[in-house]
Amino acid sequence: MEKPLNNRAWFLVMPVALIVAFNAILPLMTVVNYSVQDTFGNNQFFWNGTGWFKDLLDPNAELGGRFLAALGRNVSFSLIILSIEVPLGILVSLCMPKKGPGVAACLVIMALPLLVPWNVVGTIWQIFARTDIGLLGWTVSHLGINYNYTNEFFSAWFTIILMDVWHWTSLIALLCYAGLKSSPDAFYQAARIDGASRWSVFRAIELPKLNRVLLIGVLLRFMDSFMIYTEPFVVTGGGPGNSTTGVSIDLVKIALGQFDLGKAAAMSIVYNLIILSTCWVFYTVMTNVDAPDRPRDAKDGAL
């Protein structure tokens, strides 16, 4: 077949290419550039090759130890909040009314925490959990529990986890609620006729319906919590010690506190790659799990 070759159409893509280059590719390349250099200020840079990356991934190096510890804390934080927020969100969505005036009230109340900006959430909890003037902190410490998020490891973790659950469980619950609403009544009637218990109904009908929305919900919550910065920064400032310092907080300390641009750049690249690959693996696994075993043969249909 004779195909006219004319590549002038590429010019139509040029404006977009320029904008993307300006706001994404060039800044990213700057980071890549920093990651292979070192500087002592004065805008003077020295070639360092893959040095920072080697340091970063070596647990015995100063940078590596710091990075891996922060990464570990981030992973733990994400796993803990996911394992609380997902079951709790599903449970809340199952308990929400399906019709009537309660629906609107529930939806509004559930949506409220989602509308509060991160630093405001941080500030609310920073005050709420204080033992001197905060209601939560005061109550807990007056119950005789040693609670002080500024100097005690468990209190600090407890506070930021509780804060995240308070802030984001609604997201999972609302997504699940939407998923549950989409299943027709006939399914529940059939399950009753089949003598299914409440648990069987959940396993056989509701959970499969939630598959898709949970995939989105878990992805969103994983990415968000893995990159969390503002809330713990406002509440604990990463402390006591480094105990609530995630990679984001550490990154800012290195980049802006110590002005180690090379180290920070290498760290951001690795951090970014970890998030991308985790999401990709997660998404691929989840979409393959619920794919049908094999599509119906075209031949069957034609016969």
Binding site: A186, Q189, R192, I193, D194, A196, P208, D290, D293, R296
Partner: protein, 358 residues
């Protein structure tokens, strides 16, 4: 398998029904014999689905009783009634294989695994699903999904009845025939009482031994397809069943003769005088009207002849009243001077819509 009985049953969705229109189901008493194949036939909104839901226990009737084998189950919840239902849209458990779907009702009831396996195999063989047992149910076509729904009912040995709520709605037309024939075969094999709700007369008449025709919350006739065709108990049944439906013409009846706008029509029987306050009509199916010649029969004006390929449908008017008749494919219909002769034995008399017996 069981005998289903509705005793003085009526239902209203309103808390305090007053007017007749408030009732979704008007008082009825009915018995469905064990092992029978019944169809509930009627237009949308006639109450057939309400009646089905009352049988399945999803709706509790306002008045009256539902008895299964003489045991009162009126207030028993669905799961304790031992019935099965096939819904309009296929309901299957997506994450399970065909086999797990069929085993689900038994596993919920704690039947031992060996027995479940045997039952599932038996039912799969009956429904011709044996080759697909290991497949995931979500990838199957709508007709196979409906078979699985039916299978989940049949797999329970003690199932008392299988209820179908317009089960062929989402099935491709060329598969409808096939699935309908299969349902019939499965019914003969399993000998389970089956109740089939539909608004499609072909489905009802081919599936059921007895058809219950419903109209506006009322049961207007219960009969075999033949009875419904030959002797409709209500003008509605005459209209609704048959294509084209029965001709219903206002008339006056005296003894063995009826008069329609001055035209005389012979009746096969002699009738007692009918209460003059009632609206008297005669009904005759197009199948029982033939073309006449000379001066015999009803003089009609032919408006249109529809050739269906197998027969001709004559659409005519008798002094402004529409009337339809069937003619053989090879008969020629003259443009004017057409007369239609009714078979006297097939002409029925109706008073206020109800059949009047001689």
């Amino acid at each position: 398998m069981a005998r289903l009985e509705l005793r003085d049953l009526s239902h209203s969705y309103k808390p305090n029904p007053v007017e007749p229109a408030d009732w979704a189901l008007k008082p009825m008493t009915m018995i469905w014999e064990d092992g029978g194949a019944y169809a509930l036939l009627g237009p949308s909104g006639c109450g057939k689905t309400s009646l089905l839901n009352i049988l399945s226990g999803l709706v509790i009737p306002s008045r009256g009783k539902v008895l299964f084998d003489d045991v009162d189950v009126t207030t028993l919840p669905t799961e304790q009634r031992n019935i099965a239902q096939v819904f309009q849209f296929p309901v299957i458990y997506d994450t399970m294989t065909v086999e797990q779907n069929l085993a689900f009702p038994l596993r919920n009831r704690g039947v031992e695994p060996a027995k479940i396996d045997a039952r599932v195999k038996e039912v799969a063989a009956m429904l011709e699903l044996t080759g697909d047992l290991k497949r995931k149910a979500s990838g199957l076509t709508a007709d196979m999904k409906q078979k699985i729904s039916l299978g989940r009912g049949l797999v329970r040995e003690d199932v008392r009845a299988v209820l179908f709520d317009e089960p062929l709605t989402v099935i491709d037309p060329h598969l409808k025939w096939q699935l309908r024939a299969e349902l019939k075969r499965v019914h003969r094999q399993s000998k389970t009482t089956m109740v089939y709700v539909t608004h499609d007369q072909t489905e009802a008449l081919t599936f059921a031994d007895k058809v219950v025709v419903m109209y506006d919350g009322d049961v207007v006739q219960v009969g075999t397809p033949q009875q419904l065709f030959e002797e409709p108990a209500h003008t509605f049944v005459g209209h609704f069943i048959g294509s084209p439906g029965m001709n219903v013409l206002p008339a006056s009846v005296a003894g063995g003769v009826a008069h329609i706008k001055g035209n005389e029509i012979l009746l096969g029987r002699s009738y007692q005088p009918i209460d003059s306050a009632k609206r008297v009509e005669i009904g005759v199916r197009p199948e029982f009207l033939r073309l006449g010649s000379g001066t015999e029969g009803l003089p009609v004006t032919v408006k249109r002849v529809e050739d269906t390929g197998r027969q001709k449908i004559i659409r005519a008017e008798l002094d402004g009243l529409p009337i339809a008749a069937l003619a053989h494919e090879d008969e020629t219909v003259p443009a004017s001077g057409v007369r239609l002769i009714a078979d006297p034995a097939r002409v029925h008399v109706y008073a206020d819509g109800q059949l009047v017996r001689a």
